[in-house]
Symmetry: C2
Subunit: 349 residues, 2 copies
């Protein structure tokens, strides 16, 4: 679907709104059993029989959530889907459908939107999700993507944020902080490029960080793995705003406290070396950097044997009674109160 932009440039208004939706969605198949009717009527129709239905939505704004000067449109489409699927997995559910609405200024030719949809399609195919609806409209400035993801889960499988108990283990998947650091690397290269357009960025030593920023993967595999291990978390959330902020959500909603151990927080070696290069503290980045899209969950101590040897999971702390508070236990064995300094798009102008 990717085309050479030098060869073709089709104005969006040539197609019109209905033509555009039809054109963009024609290569999307319907694969989920629950999808009865996808794009093309007033509403999509789904059937979930005995399952509960999960719905989550996210809005991505150019200049706030993404920068097209280093975010290829295909990656943007892929990432926009991941952001939403991640929320469904954080409920211990299976994502089944998405709707995609975009607002775009006329500066984008059809071929650009095709790239965006190629990324969306790739995500749909890889995660077995059907595109069932959406809206395309013009914007007065820039691009905006609004995605709603729909998922399903058996009632007894749904995991909320509010089920953590004192003594539960606090577990995280993957490693943290790399996506945020990838963004810092890309921002730096952008500034270098702006002052010297002939410079060739060499991102080899930051490849993992950049990939975490540009092409995150939602942890569908973890939901499957937990099922296989017969572990049902007592609470779960996805890490979109930084570890610290997400822990506070779990604690607040579960009415518990927490001891988080600094030396247990999983960090990638590339992330550590780049933090050294940038002269920033890696723990701070892991706690406050956003967009990791890993899962953070609590399990009862009884489940410890099932998860302890698994390379997908890192036990980073445990829950405590509410009145004991929420703390980071540092390498020096100091206790520092956790504060939410999560990536907050409203404060980021």
């Amino acid at each position: 679907m990717l085309k050479d932009k030098n060869q073709q440039s089709t104005s969006l208004s040539e197609l019109g709104e209905f033509g555009l939706i039809k054109h963009l969605t024609k290569n999307f198949g319907i694969n989920c059993e629950s999808t009865e009717k996808g794009v093309g009527d007033d509403a999509a129709v789904m059937e979930f029989s005995d399952k509960q239905v999960l719905v989550t939505t996210d809005l991505l704004v150019e200049g706030v959530h993404f920068d097209l000067s280093y975010m290829p449109l295909k990656h943007l489409g892929y990432k926009a889907v991941m952001v939403n699927l991640s929320d469904v997995y954080a409920m211990n559910g299976t994502a089944t459908q998405i709707t995609v609405s975009i607002a775009i200024s006329n500066r984008f030719p059809l071929e650009a939107i095709e790239e965006l949809y190629a990324g969306i399609q790739h995500a749909c195919e890889k995660y077995n999700v059907d595109l069932v609806g959406g809206d395309t409209t013009s914007s007065t400035k820039g691009m905006l993507i609004s995605i709603t993801a729909i998922g399903e889960a058996k009632k007894e499988d749904v995991v909320y944020r509010n089920g953590a108990k004192p003594n539960d283990l606090l577990v995280v998947t993957g490693d943290l902080g790399s996506a945020y650091l990838g963004l810092q690397v890309l921002e730096r290269e952008k500034q270098v490029f702006q002052s010297n357009p002939n410079s060739q960025p060499d991102l080899d030593q930051y490849s993992y960080l950049v990939e975490r920023q540009l092409k995150p993967e939602a942890r569908k595999d973890v939901v499957q793995l937990l099922k296989e291990l017969e572990v049902k978390p007592s609470s779960m959330i996805d890490i979109s705003d930084g570890l610290s902020s997400e822990i506070i959500h779990l604690c607040t909603q579960s009415e518990v406290g927490c001891d988080l151990y600094e030396d247990k927080i999983p960090l990638d070696p590339q992330m550590i070396s780049t933090c050294e290069e940038f002269k920033i503290d890696s723990t701070t980045i892991a706690l406050s950097g956003g967009e990791d899209y890993e899962l953070l969950f609590t399990v009862s101590q009884e489940d410890f044997p099932k998860i302890k040897a698994n390379p997908n999971f890192t036990i980073i702390g445990h829950m405590t009674p509410k009145n004991e508070g929420m703390y980071l236990v540092t390498r020096a064995n100091q206790k520092i109160e956790l504060v939410a300094q999560g990536w907050n798009s409203l404060n980021k102008e």
Copy 2:
């Protein structure tokens, strides 16, 4: 919830994203049986048991779909919900939940967003719909609202666009063209105001038109009425882009033709007199003006006795075999081919 803007002005960044969502949604109740968990987790959770699930989404952009110089924010919130519920009713379903995402520039104080949500809340209460999720973020310019509506229907009750048969009657609810004309009136008043800020607009003689534009109602009552009358339409769509464009959708998807009778199209007297004043053809406005949010449907001739005397319905034509084409039969008994000149936001810059 409405506050005097002269007295209070709270910056959005004071609250932060989580604080803002919590603040805005605190007065919304949960009333639908199908809502298991609303705002506050990674995803909302719903249970529809033996019902099918309907999902539809719409994106409204400031400067493209609405103009805040004459659209009060409370009305905008209300209308944004109506636009989406209308799509659920057009499937012959019951709307049950919505998610609301907004992108807003920092020029809006908290009190403005509260007004917007007051309108959303009013719509939710009146139509018995639960707000179950959403996203708030900043925009670099203007305001943007993305709403997803979720609904339910028994499988045997769902009405698609593709079920119309030749000889079926074509029926419309309410009257057409007034919303579009209301917009023209408001645009004219805006220009008068801009050239003379001391002028006082007198909109009394246009009150119906302006109300149709600023405070449309989705036809939940019609879905209920059809049920009571034991009429299941063979096809249905809501009129958001103008009668002509919607008829073409029904015909194309049902693979039929149509004869639409000009003298049967229901017009409000205020709409007719204003068309005369503006020197525009009322039929053209009814065919191409958007945002009526009435329902257009087809029924088999057998159902004629059930709907003929009902003031909510007007029979405006009948379906024909596909090869006979789609025509407007004028008052002078001429046949003119129907063309889609619907309100197209992509061509409207």
